[in-house]
Symmetry: C2
Subunit: 762 residues, 2 copies
């Protein structure tokens, strides 16, 4: 088979970079002094045996982050960043994730290294066996597993161009076998460039032979976590490979097939033996050290390189003496792993030739945008200081590896907590959706973004699929509910019929019609508004009734915005947003116009600047609160109060900078959930029920919340029910307790997984 | 109590016309010769005992139409017209509704008059008693029952202005008692103006005393359907009224309280006796003859007059000698009823004074828009020919009453069937909603229009409430379903994941991004389209692939319409709309561009004119098909075929006048449901299920519907699923069988009431 020809075939062109990726990243939980965490894996992740994203590896402290399979590098890192951030924010507040492959200083006593407390006893037994066979300490090393699959269209096109194989699965198996053989032969180059475990910490090599540190990669050397030397498997054919592994197990050299720690694994069915049936579906590279300069342990450059490297392993020839070929690779990798970090590698020429060959392949395939990366890597061939091991060793010489790692861990920890309302990887989405994604990942519900700009998610747990838009539009509400809420007249009719107090009024579709109703409203407080617009446009409020001429003027303004106009009783009082989920008020929010409180010393301008320092404030809806402006409108508002931006308000004086209470114009969100008795909560709950909704933000006007609505029929009025209510302002309010509504929605969708009363405690 | 003062009080002004109305209208079913129908009440109305709109009165042939209580005269007639039209279209095709109060020629034998076959045996027994007591023939007379209630705000305002009563119910009871006494005293005026039963037909007065016909109103005279003369009840107080009725029943003069046939009934609780507890809620006038000049038996003028007349009964003084006062009214009404139709009434002066007094009241209340009606009625005092009885008698003299009535019945029958896709009273709503309303009324599901312009309905059967918009948006679909369908990318992802064939492609948000994907599409048939627009704007199709420059041009056009652009595989074939309801394909429609078929004789213009005669064609979406135009686009299309509007196409030649197949531009809708085998139906059903929808119109491209999709993976492609699919085009297609989808939706909502397999048979 001439794979080079397949790669070069014109029909491959559209799909040449098509591939699927997946990453598993391990990392030790440590405290702020860099000692192994003494706590258990956090309960809030639920059942880790089934968690798709966050599990534990060998030890209880060794967290494992797992991305789903993705079709692009971009998506791969979106998930990896997000999962990392969820994990780092969900572990105990005084813990963080160790950024190195080599573990921190380990406890002196073996028993202080906790084996992962998995619920499946077989899994525990296997770990106990490993501890006995290899020693607990060796198992504490962490790394990246990189799963890779050539794209299906690409494979299909290749398959169509060849005649050697009639079965697609056989074709794929042979293709990945070749990739693997060459990979094993040349993987030393990866160790050279990205090896990142030059030193060990105390209590790692206890009673075991240790390398003469520093080196390029302890983890990739024979001092790392490898099988005993008597484990030998041939890559000459799939049959041979499988029968060798089987034999190793039979002979007791391996306890089971998964104990075979090859740097590249073939993946197909559930068990290794299934490969003979299913063929190879993808390959798993296991030789990548954690890159401490990347928060998540690996960066996009590395993935790009690995992708092209694997493609090149297909491009170049292979030796027919397979076992010798692979054995030569083993030797070279061992040698490179144990070279000193600053030392030029013994295989410098072969390395340069590989990178030059990759450049030629890229040119031939017209994939020239990756040429600069190849040139960069060629430089690193010449300058070992620029390799990962080289860079780390330089820093370690100054501060010591422990300090180096601790400092990085703290930096990453701080970054994770900087904007807790955002989620790395998905920062272009709406805040409510980012928070919702966070919760779904934390709870182990599989999430996929179907449309980023449209905030459209697909969730899955086992067979249970849900689609969610804007974090609040779900299958739990019926189609007709938002349509009812969208129509103010219909909403009022439904609520009124169910016995709730809504503004009395009428809808008109012409001036004439509306004018005949003048006498109904003339002497009361009333409001004229367009039926369907929502941004305050076209609204006129008459708090003392109105003369006919003013009534007409108000109508004219409203009719400019819509063909239908509502004239309604005006209800005085304070507006509260009641957020109801599944029949319960989960949060009550008061919105207050942009304001500052004087201290008798600072000017308005200074007070605004200080208030704007709050990390909850930002711009363009990227934070739960917006920065307070001092523009024309705000200055006008100050002027009306006899103030300017340089006035110094008295101590305790509240200076409002806006009339409207919108959060988007700098208003404050204040959680007042606990200030309300059950009376009003029940009203909100029943009203939402009358509208048939499971999730709604319903706005009540309440003149005095101490008044019992059962004794006073004008104690409240319902002015609107919202079918797409913002959630983030409740989760991260300006003042008062945050209410994790996203978790409540998740529980509504997945009661079999989520228990918000546990999860919201934290 | 000075009611005049209450009426005049300024606080009454805004509510002075506020009232609630309800009408019951009886009518005999007859065949086209005017003989009583021999069929049973149609089964498709379901259980008539619980039908809110369409029941039977005394005889099986006597249909009774019942409006709900409405707040306006407009709404009252909307319902009455609609219910009439539903009834007249739902009875057998060779039957119609007799337009007179007096029945048509009755069968000679008593046993040929069928007592209504009600399911409740007590109801049947009661009718048997009536037949025995009064004779079957007398019971065959029909009329209008007019239910009236002063508006609640108006009553509350009045109540607040007076001090005599402390209980609101007592206040109301006294108010309606006064209204009733004066009504009974002056009701002769109604008989004079609107009496409309001058003659009887054969076999009505068999073995009974008969009046010397013609008169003003047989029905309102003692020859009509009245109690025996020994039934006397006092209106002096509610206690007296109730105890008198009780006594009549005890003495056996009435079999039960409902046998008391007063021209005005007090209504409150379920039984008459409940009135002492509940007070009077409303009154029921029973003295209105069917107005044959109104299809529904009464017109808006009459309702306006009755409203003002009842108001006036409150306005004027009452005699303290109540029983004599009422007795005087009885005498006068009997006298007027039996006057000859053209004769000036004996109470001319009192009549003029009443109408003049009403004018004065109207002026005092500033309700001057009703003055012209009063002047018109004053004219009728002078000219008895202009009264209803006078007008009827004039016509009857020429043609005979039977012919007169038969001719009117046929006119009304034709009108009911003229546009079966519309529903009187609701013609401003969308056709699908009109048809849906028709079905709901027919099936006895209570309907209320919450918002006419928004096609928003509220349905109710017993405690079961449903809201419906556009006749297809219901509680059965979930909120997230239309959101999925609205987003083409998400729809495709969901369908593809579920294993359906959708156009392969990608979404781009920038030119640059889209251009990099050029090689993926360059050589295949593909289409570029904006993601979210729906009207064909910005779409470019490349059936043979495209050069890069053309690809870029197509992108530029699409990006003008939307920020997101889809580039997709183009699927050749015919597009079919599969309409799926509750997991089943209920209709498949093919849409064909506007066209005519030549006959070798007529010009294109003549062929179009003839095709446009189809009553299914109309304009502005008021008919299921649109008129074919011969505008610029059509003429251009002709020109491309080498034709003009005056060309004469050959016999059988199909001339297309449009490229697009939209119904809105004159296209034909062709039902092809039965032409499809189950293969494609199952695909459509499963695809809609995968999207989670209960109601959807899903569009499949099928190159050849004879190809089995299980053997050919390119046999179909799904291009769109619609969450607001038009229904009327399936119910009334241009060709093929109509599919009553509205009934299927109704069954989905109310399986406890509707069985579409029975109802759609008809």
């Amino acid at each position: 088979m001439n794979y080079k020809e397949l790669l070069l075939h014109p029909s491959s062109r559209p799909f040449i970079r098509q591939a699927r990726f997946g990453i598993e990243r391990e990392g030790q939980r440590v405290d702020f002094s860099g000692q192994l965490a003494k706590t258990d894996h956090p309960k809030r992740f639920g059942d880790r045996a089934h968690h798709p994203y966050i599990q534990t590896d060998f030890s209880e402290t060794q967290i494992e982050l797992i991305t789903p399979v993705t079709d692009s590098v971009k998506e791969l890192f979106q998930y990896l960043e997000a999962i990392y951030e969820v994990a780092s924010r969900s572990i105990a507040e005084d813990e963080m994730i160790w950024p190195l492959s080599m573990p921190p200083v380990l406890p002196e006593k073996d028993e202080d290294i906790m084996i992962a407390k998995l619920s499946n006893f077989e899994d525990v037994l296997y770990r106990r066996y490993l501890a006995k066979e290899y020693g607990k300490r060796k198992q504490m090393v962490s790394g990246i597993h990189f799963n890779f699959e050539f794209g299906n269209d690409l494979l299909q096109v290749w398959f169509a161009q060849q005649t050697e194989f009639t079965e697609f699965t056989e074709f794929k198996t042979e293709l990945y076998l070749k990739t693997a053989r060459n990979f094993l032969r040349y993987r030393w180059l990866i160790t050279y460039l990205y090896g990142a475990s030059p030193l060990s910490e105390e209590n790692y090599f206890v009673d075991k032979p240790a390398p003469a540190e520093p080196v390029r990669s302890i983890r990739n050397s024979s001092f790392g976590y490898t099988n005993h030397p008597n484990v030998k498997v041939s890559y000459s054919s799939m049959e041979r490979y499988l029968s060798d592994i089987e034999r190793m197990v039979e002979e007791g050299k391996l306890s089971e097939e998964k104990e075979f720690y090859t740097p590249i694994r073939f993946r197909g069915g559930k068990r290794v033996a299934d490969l003979s049936e299913s063929g190879v579906q993808y390959i798993e590279l296991r030789n990548i050290d954690l890159n401490p300069y990347a928060r998540v342990g690996i960066n996009e450059e590395q993935v790009e390189f690995l992708h092209l490297f694997l493609m090149y392993m297909l491009w170049i020839d292979q030796e027919t003496a397979v076992d010798e070929w692979v054995a030569e690779g083993e030797l070279r990798n061992e040698q490179v792993s144990l070279e000193k970090p600053f030392e030029q590698t013994a295989f410098y020429d072969e390395g340069r030739n590989l990178l030059q060959g990759m450049k030629e392949m890229l040119v031939a395939l017209e994939e020239i945008e990756s040429l600069p990366l190849m040139d960069e890597l060629l430089n690193r061939m010449d300058d070992p200081h620029e390799t990962l091991a080289g860079k780390i060793y330089q820093e370690v010489q100054q501060s010591g590896q422990h300090e180096f790692a601790l400092s990085l861990a703290k930096t990453y920890e701080a970054k994770s907590h900087e904007r807790p309302y955002q989620l790395a990887g998905f920062r272009d989405m709406e805040l409510s959706t980012q928070i919702f994604l966070f919760d779904a990942i934390q709870q182990g519900i599989q999430v996929k973004v179907l449309d980023e700009a449209d905030q459209f998610l697909r969730l899955q747990h086992q067979e249970h699929i849900e689609y969610v838009k804007n974090a609040n539009m779900t299958s739990k509400d019926s189609y007709v509910v938002p349509l009812i809420m969208e129509n103010k007249t219909v909403t009022k009719k439904v609520l009124k019929e169910a016995g709730f107090r809504v503004p009395e009024g009428a809808e008109f579709t012409s001036m004439e019609e509306a004018i005949t109703a003048y006498s109904r409203f003339a002497k009361q407080a009333f409001v004229i508004k367009p039926k369907s617009t929502n941004y305050g446009l076209g609204i006129t409020i008459f708090k003392e009734g109105a003369a006919l001429a003013d009534y007409k003027a108000g109508l004219a303004i409203a009719f400019r915005e819509d063909d239908s106009v509502l004239v309604e009783e005006f209800m005085p009082g304070t507006e509260y947003r009641f957020f109801v989920i599944d029949g319960k008020v989960k949060a009550i929010l008061l919105r207050v116009p942009a304001n500052v409180v004087g201290d008798g010393k600072r000017t308005v301008e200074e007070l605004v600047a200080e208030k704007n320092l709050d990390p909850l404030r930002g711009s363009h809806h990227r934070a739960p609160l917006e920065l307070i402006q001092l523009g024309e409108l705000e200055q006008l508002m100050l002027k009306e109060q006899g103030l300017t931006v340089s006035a110094v308000p008295e101590k305790g004086q509240i200076v409002y900078l806006r009339e409207n209470s919108n959060i988007s114009t700098g208003g404050d969100s204040i959680d007042v959930t606990d200030e309300f008795s059950d009376h009003y909560k029940k009203i909100a709950q029943s009203a939402v029920e009358a509208l048939g909704a499971k999730i709604s933000g319903i706005d009540l006007i309440i003149p005095d919340k101490e008044v019992d609505p059962e004794t006073n029929e004008k104690a409240y009025g319902i002015i609107e029910a919202n079918f797409n209510p913002a959630m983030h302002m409740h989760v991260y309010p300006f003042a008062g307790k945050g209410r994790r509504l996203t978790m409540n929605v998740l529980e509504l969708l997945y009661p079999e997984v989520v228990n918000s009363s546990i999860n919201n405690e934290n």
